[in-house]
């Protein structure tokens, strides 16, 4: 078997996509302390929404990006905080949060399958790739890598320098201190959810530009995001992006050796392998 550098590069692009998506996921995970099971479906719906905006509404690329990111932020601001913080406060609510997000995921999958029965992609922005030393570099995917690095660096600064970012980290470690110092936890949840879903929408826009999208990918993506958040560390943006690149390269290599359809197996096996180790380490 010969090694093709294009495989490694494909893995880097794929990993940047996963890492960027997981950056939004980890904000929701950090705010709620619970796994948002509909996240992957929202990500896929965003990508299909972008292709619809461009194909049916004739919106230019930049406007479609802006509409999608704004819609993600608005959805997070308006609908998510109640669910997130209801879920975060008590252990009984954790079950409720889990069921509500899983139910939403299934309803989104059914709706997506009816609205977009076939896998699709916008692919309307496909300028010729740059060729460096015989290796093709598609501009959309280069932009994706750049965006992933910028978002991760931005989150890193936000979580360490901004008042709300620091409050989110403190909230993730324990709710009581945040209440005692008088942080408005409702607003904290709104900000985290709006920011998280905006990044989800941004990542899904790159998904639509660079890859074929299927509504059946939602749950697999949620599992991937969880693996990345666990591997990279919750509210550790650079770690999550790095883990994303690692998973992308891993999937690309698995796909090269076993066939493309086996790629997602790495995430599932990773989850099954990681969780018992973490449970043993935490003593629970």
């Amino acid at each position: 078997m010969t090694f093709d550098p294009q495989i490694l590069l494909g893995g880097l692009f794929l990993g940047s996509l996963y890492g960027t998506a997981a950056l939004g996921f980890q904000l929701l995970l950090g705010a709620a302390g619970r796994v948002h099971l509909a996240y992957g479906h929202l990500w896929v719906a965003g990508a299909l929404g972008l292709s619809t905006l461009m194909a049916r509404c004739d919106l230019p690329l930049s406007a479609s990006f802006a509409v999608l990111v704004a819609a993600g932020g608005l959805a997070g601001w308006l609908f998510h905080p109640g669910v997130l913080f209801r879920g975060a406060l008590t252990e009984e609510r954790a079950r409720s949060f889990f069921l509500v997000t899983l139910g939403a995921a299934l309803m989104l999958e059914e709706a997506g399958a009816r609205l977009w029965p076939l896998p699709g992609s916008a692919l309307v922005w496909a300028p010729p790739p740059l060729v460096v030393a015989g290796v093709a570099l598609p501009p959309a995917k280069l932009a994706l890598v750049g965006t992933g690095i910028c978002v991760a660096a931005g989150f890193h600064i936000y979580l360490r320098r901004n008042r709300w970012g620091r409050a989110l980290v403190a909230w993730n470690r324990g709710a009581a201190p945040v209440w005692f110092v008088g942080v408005d936890t409702g607003l904290l949840g709104r900000r985290a959810a709006a920011l998280g879903l905006s990044v989800c929408a941004l990542s899904s826009a790159f998904l639509a530009l660079s890859y074929t999208v299927s509504v059946r990918e939602g749950m697999a993506m949620t599992v991937r995001c969880l693996v990345l958040a666990v591997l990279g560390g919750t509210l550790s943006p650079l770690g999550v992006l790095g883990a994303g690149v690692g998973l992308g390269i891993g999937e690309s290599l698995v796909g090269h050796v076993l066939g493309l359809r086996w790629g997602p197996a790495l995430g599932y096996v990773g989850l099954l392998g990681i969780l018992p180790v973490l449970a043993r380490r935490s003593g629970r």
Binding site: F98, L99, L102, L106, L108, W262, A265, Y268, L272, L275
Partner: protein
């Protein structure tokens, strides 16, 4: 009294009297009832969201279909399905049993997704996305009676666990693992046994599934709407209760058939809606709300 009479009527009347559609509905109720009761062992008494329970049904269905395709008689195929389910549970024991709460639910979901991925991709063995068609003389009547026996055995086991020392240890482990362990309950062993005891009836039910259908596919064996049906039924009806799982199954299958007869096939949306409703409005399930004062 009423459920016993309904059960006796199902035994006596059989598929001949019920007619094609009626027999199919009755068989679906028995099959889903078996799955819901077996789910309730770890999902109800054990207090876990066992989202991968349906994977064992799928493993059973594929094992039986492969065995029949290889020329095995129906009883050997169904037996092999139960054995395969049990073996899978033993294999997964170290990965699932140490986990609790959401990590357990996610790991069991990963098992389901991984199984679906395997049967879709192992084309030479499983027929890939197209699935496996089987030809067997063991039709609806035989399957109906076998499913009825399996359902009765699972109901008996469910009730037996409820009254046993094992069941009390399982409930204690679900309520507070550390306290139960401090009281001498071997929590991991108890939960592992619950996983195994719940798995075998589910795999046996899967082993009977391909005979009336004459077909098994990744979607019909490992699809989310199939795998999550017992979860929704138990959550709707009420976990860890005598009538909860069965109330949920009757309600869920009833709603799905009602939609089906009106030409609406929103099965995944119905499952999703059921989960959302259970999460928001019925934290203890319908039976929990209705029968709480009566025990």
């Amino acid at each position: 009294m009423l459920p016993s009479a309904a059960g006796a009527a199902l035994v006596l009347l059989g598929p001949d009297w019920l007619g094609g559609y009626g027999a199919m509905i009755a068989w679906t109720l028995l099959l889903q009832g078996t799955l819901a009761l077996s789910y309730d062992i770890l999902g109800g008494y054990g207090g876990e969201l066992h989202l991968g329970h349906g994977a064992f049904f799928g493993i059973g269905a594929y094992t039986a279909a492969l065995a029949v395709s290889a020329g095995a008689p129906w009883w050997a195929a169904a037996g092999a399905a139960g054995a395969a389910g049990g073996a899978a549970a033993l294999l997964l024991w170290p990965f699932l049993v140490p986990l609790r709460g959401v990590p357990f639910a996610l790991a069991s979901l990963a098992v389901l997704l991984l199984c679906g991925l395997f049967v879709r991709n192992l084309n030479a063995l499983t027929g890939g996305a197209a699935g496996i068609s089987i030809s067997s003389s063991f039709g609806m009547e035989g399957t109906y009676r076998c499913t009825l026996v399996l359902f009765a055995a699972t109901l008996w086991m469910h009730e037996g666990i409820r009254e046993s020392a094992f069941g009390r240890a399982l409930l204690a482990s679900a309520a507070d693992r550390e306290a139960a362990a401090s009281s001498g309950v071997p929590t991991n062993e108890i939960r592992g046994k619950a996983l195994l005891w719940g798995t075998v009836p589910a795999a046996l039910a899967g082993g009977l599934y391909p005979f009336p259908m004459a077909y098994v596919s990744p979607q019909s064996a490992f699809g989310l709407e199939v795998a999550l049906t017992p979860v929704v039924a138990v959550l709707l009806g009420g976990p860890a209760s005598r009538w909860g799982p069965l109330t949920g199954v009757v309600l869920y299958v009833g709603i799905q058939e009602w939609l089906w007869t009106r030409g609406w096939e929103f099965s995944l949306a119905v499952v999703g809606g059921g989960l959302m409703a259970a999460g928001l409005f019925l934290p203890r399930g319908l039976a929990g709300r209705l029968f709480s004062s009566r025990g």
